[in-house]
Symmetry: C2
Subunit: 385 residues, 2 copies
DNA sequence: TATCTTCCGCCGATCATCGAACAAAGAGGG
DNA sequence: CCCTCTTTGTTCGATGATCGGCGGAAGATA
């Protein structure tokens, strides 16, 4: 129902969002009677979803008992499957990280190998956190390629041989599994962690390739085929000679991606193989590398300028390996966006480096799982059962 | 509340969407008891929102009484304020047009003049439809510039002198007024009218300038400052000599907009002043005009190819004056999009000319008003009162 | 210590919803 | 033509959820 939001799920949403920490808050926000709220809260405590902590500050009368998510007894996992690494984070229901690990692992080893690895790490982390496997409620996973979100199957991922159409969720039988593109979960992680108040955010990952996660109205926009945000193959002007692996030329990725920068540096006599090498050179003070990074920033900025006009975000977050030298990358990006976008769209626009860093992906994947579990529909089912 | 959707507003939503036409349908869809549904329907009939029409087809038992929106007693207005015209449509609550008119009118005359004109037209149309002014429940308006949707005030519109920050809703005291950008309401009109099933749609208006309305998850995306969709100033490659009124160069609008095409034709010895002139020349068989339009299509396609990668829509609709020669414009657009966008994104993508035509804007503006009035929140308020 | 304020649980009153029973209206069959 | 079956719609008592007042709890203030 639309009016008088007051189901157990809605009540929990208010608690988990931090909008309400006491029964009085809940009564005021929902419009329900205090007695009704008490009943709801009792049910949520009964289900092990909420706990009471000792009194809070008094405002002149009896101090209210604080309510918060019950962080024991449940566990959620966020998995970041990268091209060459695998990171697993174990989180409690509030989004706090309980334990975390990262290992080098090639996604090209195929789904069975990678998912088996995730499984063993999961057991280790659960042991470390002192929770049984049965406490695991949901698992979110980000993978480096397009995914059909509804089914959790990769959709012709270019750099994940053997994964096409593989039903990832079926590998984990006893818990809900949500799979999404890695950039999407990074965007989610960054949004929830650093910019919870904003409605429209773009997260741009500048690594070997270039991708973008889109948060619209606070929710991920995946598009019709789940391929939204694939900005690496948008054309930039003046580089028709730059051939791309996709078969076209002048793609953003072929001009400003980490791999492209490394290749260009190598051609110019400074050996570099990956985006990380480029970053290292910049940090070492190599002026050529620095110039290339700034130029890359301008090219990225050209594409983003168009997207700012189109999408009108409040925040653009720059992440990925190349953002380690963000002071140089951002200079070019900002310069170009402010020159090429409309004043109305840029006036309140922030362009910032990622604040969440390395584990934005694992964190975002975990949050995907947690938010699914905490959705009012799901909670109402749990409480009634 | 989230579970068991069954407030009067939700019931009406099902009726107005055509998902349910009988009480039984409603009981089945909402999960509520038949008696409860009857009670809800009675309340809606009482409020004048729903009417019963005589029996439907029997399926072996008593034939159900059909329910539909009560189309008498209410009226809604959709106003399309263009640069040089003003169109007003009077609609009933089901979205059917009762009466309509269009007059030449310069938006540069300023808000008082234009809104006074709207007022007189409104009275004429109401008289024509035989409804009193008091029947007017809500009014939607599309204007050729950015608008702060929440307040209904134009936000530094470049071609609407005197309108900046003018509080349009205050001019119509006795009814709710919603103001939006013209391209947004066109997108809404086209979506509701021709593609109600799709989630993600782009409506591209190619007229004097070039703009884009965005439908995401079935709702308009307006962006942080309400300036989303302003694609006319996205850079196209290889035209750094084309200066734009915005101060930059190589803007899509300056290369492929109707005004730019007319100017270019004139330079080449074929006099043309506006986009309409260009269309006329193409229709008269002028090969030069035709070549320019095709070329414009390719430039628009280049920008749209990027947006397809970014946004991943299901449908792109081409409207505006230039779409009158859409067979030529679309050829270039399709060619470029299919060449420059990712296969995953283009595989299920339709690129089609507007099916709604001239009054997409007035229609969309009216629908904006109607959908606001029919929103569950508003209906619940009405029924309880 | 007395009083005030706020918080929280208890409990009877109230209200919305349900579901069974019944009436209505047509289909189909003998 | 009449009888039975099916589906629809309404009526009404039963049920269960919500409300709001009351009183106890717990701290602030004086």
């Amino acid at each position: 129902m639309t009016p008088a939001p007051g189901s157990p799920g809605d009540v929990l949403t208010l608690i988990s969002a931090g909008s309400a920490t006491t029964r009085s808050d809940l009564a005021r926000l929902t419009g329900l009677a205090r007695s009704t709220i008490s009943q709801r809260v009792d049910a949520l405590i009964e289900s092990g979803l909420v706990q009471e902590t000792e009194s809070g500050e008094s405002t002149g009368g009896r101090p209210p008992r604080q309510l918060r998510l019950h962080t024991d007894g449940h566990a959620f996992a966020g998995v970041d499957v990268g091209a060459t690494h695998c990171r697993v984070a174990l989180m409690d229901i509030s989004g706090e990280v309980l334990a975390e690990c990262e290992d080098p692992l090639l996604v090209t080893e195929g789904p069975e190998t990678v998912l088996a690895h995730v499984d063993t790490r999961l057991d280790l982390l659960l042991a470390e956190a002192g929770r049984p496997r049965s406490a695991l409620r949901a698992l979110g996973m980000g993978v480096p390629g397009p995914v059909e979100f509804a089914t959790g199957r990769p959709n012709n991922p270019p750099i994940m041989p053997g994964w096409n159409d593989y039903p990832i969720p079926e590998h984990f039988e006893d818990c809900v599994v949500l799979v999404d593109n890695d950039v999407n979960v990074m965007a989610l992680g960054e949004h929830r962690n650093a910019f919870p108040g904003t409605s429209h955010l773009l997260f741009v990952k500048v690594g070997t390739g270039i991708g973008c996660g889109i948060v619209a109205e606070g929710r991920l926009h995946r598009g019709a085929q789940g391929s939204a945000g694939d900005i690496g193959h948008i054309r930039v002007s003046g580089h028709d000679d730059a051939g791309c692996r996709c078969g076209n030329s002048a793609c953003l990725e072929a001009v400003a991606g980490g791999a492209a920068l490394a290749r260009r540096l190598t051609e110019l006599g400074v050996p570099a193989a990956t985006g990380a090498d480029v970053v290292a050179l910049v940090q070492a003070g190599d002026t050529l590398a620095l110039r290339l990074v700034r130029e890359a920033g301008r090219h990225i900025g050209e594409v983003l300028a168009g997207l700012v006009n189109f999408f009108n975000p409040e925040v653009i977050v720059i992440g990925g390996v190349l953002s380690r030298v963000h002071e140089h990358l951002l200079a070019g990006i900002r310069e170009t966006i402010y020159r090429r976008s409309l004043p109305l769209a840029t006036h309140h626009l922030s362009i910032v480096p990622s604040r969440t860093g390395e584990d934005a992906a694992a964190l975002g994947a975990g949050l995907l799982a947690i938010e699914h579990y905490l959705s009012p529909d799901n909670i109402n089912k749990l409480v009634n059962a």
